[in-house]
């Protein structure tokens, strides 16, 4: 089975769960006076779930056949290992780490770390250029966000700011 039909199957499952919630569990907590309204919170989701289940099924069963030629610009997922998959996964991991470390480490340190480690993952080894560029970028962005846009971004690690 091709990837697009697997995805249709996953979406079908999601829509079925969604539809189950809309049809059977949602209206239980509805206040009595709201039951006299022509529209309930579940009305629109019910329509959506029916339509999406039908559409997902039509893709899953392959009712619509189209041009199967892959576009030249696109990536062929069947040969994913031919591409730089490791780098992509490492960068995604790095993004998760950034999300988790942003508060504890502070904006400046975690950003410098993110930019330099990201470049190293991609094969950059000229540290004498990389580190100053990362530090400058982190500083400039912090200044722009904090001072110009006025959005608070704690710059230093937690232990330096006394729990702030």
């Amino acid at each position: 089975m091709a990837l697009d039909r697997w995805i249709a199957l996953v979406i079908l499952m999601i829509c079925l769960a969604y539809g189950y919630a809309a049809f059977f569990t949602m209206d239980a907590g509805l206040a009595p006076f709201m039951k006299r309204n022509p529209i309930w919170p579940s009305t629109f989701p019910k329509i959506l779930s029916v339509l999406s289940v039908l559409t997902a099924l039509s893709i899953l069963l392959g009712l619509e056949k189209g041009a199967a030629d892959p576009k030249p610009m696109d990536i062929n997922y069947r040969r994913l290992t031919d591409y730089k998959l490791g780098q992509a996964l490492a960068l995604l991991g790095l993004m998760v780490a950034y999300a988790l470390l942003l508060r504890p480490l502070g904006f400046l340190l975690s950003t410098i770390g993110f930019l330099s480690v990201g470049a190293v993952i991609l094969g950059e080894r000229r540290f004498h250029i990389l580190l100053p560029v990362a530090a400058a970028a982190a500083g400039i962005v912090w200044y722009l966000v904090q001072v110009v846009l006025g959005i608070f971004l704690s710059p230093w690690p937690v232990f330096l700011t006394n729990g702030g």
Partner: protein
């Protein structure tokens, strides 16, 4: 209308807004030039900045400037290194790159700049004529018609998605609508489908979703396939920007035709700059003389002018449904709509009456923006093109960082970043399987408006009676069904016929 233009002139020519236009065009040109970053990603990254400006007209002027700046920048990298920065400038590289190889890069850039300028300006004039007319018709609409109109818009986006794609686009739209029902809506005062997760109480963040759908998959694609950001660099030196009077005479009719055609294609939901540029190229090739046809693909000025004019005109045209009906026809205008809603402005026919300064300032700023792009691009392009030499080892971490920052600034919440990465991975997998992502975002943004209008119509008529009692609603809904069913029906018939012929042989 004259009054409106005056208001627009007053707003657009304030110092802040002029700076916004210049800033937007510069940022758009720079980033649009980088291969692999489309206008949608750039605008998604710029939204937090635009929202924190606070003034809706300034924000929209900035984002619109980024939009056409990006289309413009994309054409530069198409011509110089044969690496289109955005999809709508792919057709530009057909004739632009051969010209650059022949040592005429300067001439090609000039033709591109002039065509874009004319396309954008003529588009803006058409927008000024069409938008108020359409808005005054749309004022007669009630919530029932609105609901039906949105359904038509959403189905048209799916219907224009291409052969074999209608079902996928439709599913993506529905998924977007489903995602829009998550969280506490204004309508019922109760959280829906949050599964008890506190972070979903306010629903999915629109900026997070936009980043996850466009910027992140784009960046992951750049990492996976280094050839997408390959630096050709052999485009040659940029010199001799002048074009002769004869050359100007050849491209003038092309520009005239393609401005109008491109604009009209841009107005259609689901079409847009990419389709306009390819169609413009094809049309001009077909109506050219025999000798000129030979030149197409080998460095024809007409072949360069056609897509460049069309994509800029279409870009302007796509503002018509956004400003008059509040219904975005493309992913980019959907993001603009989301930004407007975040700024407490409701686009739609009332926009022209309630906030005329926004409506007109945006249109006026388009003239200004096109002029700035022309001034900016002709003398400065050799220097701006240096940005193409930034190595990808630096470029990609920065793209990822700005994606993260965009989502973080919007919500000030680190959990949002994890949601972003998760949705981004899902979006990348969807892209592998050729599911279009723009319909999902459009569905998501229109979702609550669609439900609100549906609910209002239901309440007014106390049931589904409004569909039958209002002929226009019924007609629009019928049109929506036809739009969705027709392409697959025709494809099916064509296939059956093809199989029949094969059997007869």
């Amino acid at each position: 209308m004259l009054e409106g233009i005056l208001i627009g002139l007053g707003t657009a020519f304030s110092i802040t807004n002029i700076l916004m236009v210049i800033g937007g065009c510069l940022i758009g040109t720079f980033i649009g030039m980088l291969p692999g970053l489309g206008p949608m990603s750039i605008i998604a990254i710029m939204i937090p900045v635009a929202i924190s400006i606070g003034d809706p007209s300034a924000a929209l002027i900035l984002l619109a400037g980024v939009y056409y700046g990006a289309i413009f920048g994309g054409s530069t990298s198409s011509i110089l290194i044969n690496a289109p920065g955005v999809a709508s400038t792919v057709a530009t590289s057909f004739d632009g790159y051969p010209l650059a190889r022949q040592g005429k890069a300067g001439k090609a850039l000039t033709v591109a700049a002039i065509s874009s300028f004319c396309g954008g300006t003529i588009g803006a004039i058409l927008l000024m004529v069409f938008a108020p007319a359409l808005a005054s018709v749309a004022l007669l609409f009630h919530s029932a018609e609105y609901f039906a109109l949105m359904v038509v818009g959403l189905s048209a986006i799916a219907a224009f998605a291409g052969s074999g794609q209608v079902g996928k686009a439709l599913l993506m739209t529905l998924l977007g609508l489903i995602m829009a029902t998550v969280g506490e809506g204004a309508l019922f005062n109760m959280p829906r489908f949050t599964m008890g997760i506190m972070d979903l109480q306010s629903g999915f963040g629109f900026i997070t979703l936009a980043m996850a759908m466009f910027a992140l998959p784009e960046a992951i694609y750049l990492v996976l396939d280094p050839s997408r950001s390959a630096q050709g660099g052999e485009g040659g030196e940029i010199k001799d920007l002048r074009i002769t009077r004869d050359e100007a005479r050849t491209i003038a009719p092309v520009i005239g035709r393609q401005s109008i055609q491109g604009f009209l294609i841009g107005v259609l939901p689901g079409a847009g700059a990419t389709i306009a540029s390819f169609l413009g190229y094809a049309v001009e090739r077909n109506i050219a003389t025999k000798e000129e046809q030979e030149e197409f693909g080998k460095g024809s000025l007409k072949g360069l002018a056609a897509p460049e004019t069309a994509n800029n005109a279409a870009c302007t045209g796509s503002f018509v449904p956004l400003l008059t009906l509040g219904i975005p026809g493309s992913g980019t205008t959907a993001i603009l709509l989301g930004a407007l809603i975040a700024l407490n402005v409701t686009p739609g026919p009332r926009l022209m009456l309630d906030d005329p300064q926004i409506f007109w300032a945006v249109i006026i700023s388009m003239y200004l923006g096109n002029l700035i792009l022309l001034i900016l691009n002709l003398p400065l392009i050799p220097y701006i093109a240096k940005v193409l030499a930034v190595p990808r080892t630096f470029l990609i971490p920065f793209i990822l960082f700005f994606t993260l920052m965009g989502a973080y600034i919007g919500q000030n919440n680190a959990t949002e970043l994890l949601i972003l990465v998760g949705l981004g991975v899902c979006a990348t997998v969807l892209r592998f399987a050729d599911y279009p992502l723009a319909p999902l975002l459009i569905g998501f943004i229109l979702g609550s408006m669609l439900e609100n209008n549906f609910a209002r119509a239901l309440q007014l008529y106390d049931g589904l009676g409004f569909i039958l009692e209002r002929p226009m609603t019924l007609g629009l809904l019928a049109l929506a069904v036809i739009l969705v069913v027709l392409p697959s029906y025709r494809a099916r018939r064509a296939r059956l016929r093809a199989e029949g012929v094969a059997d007869a042989d």
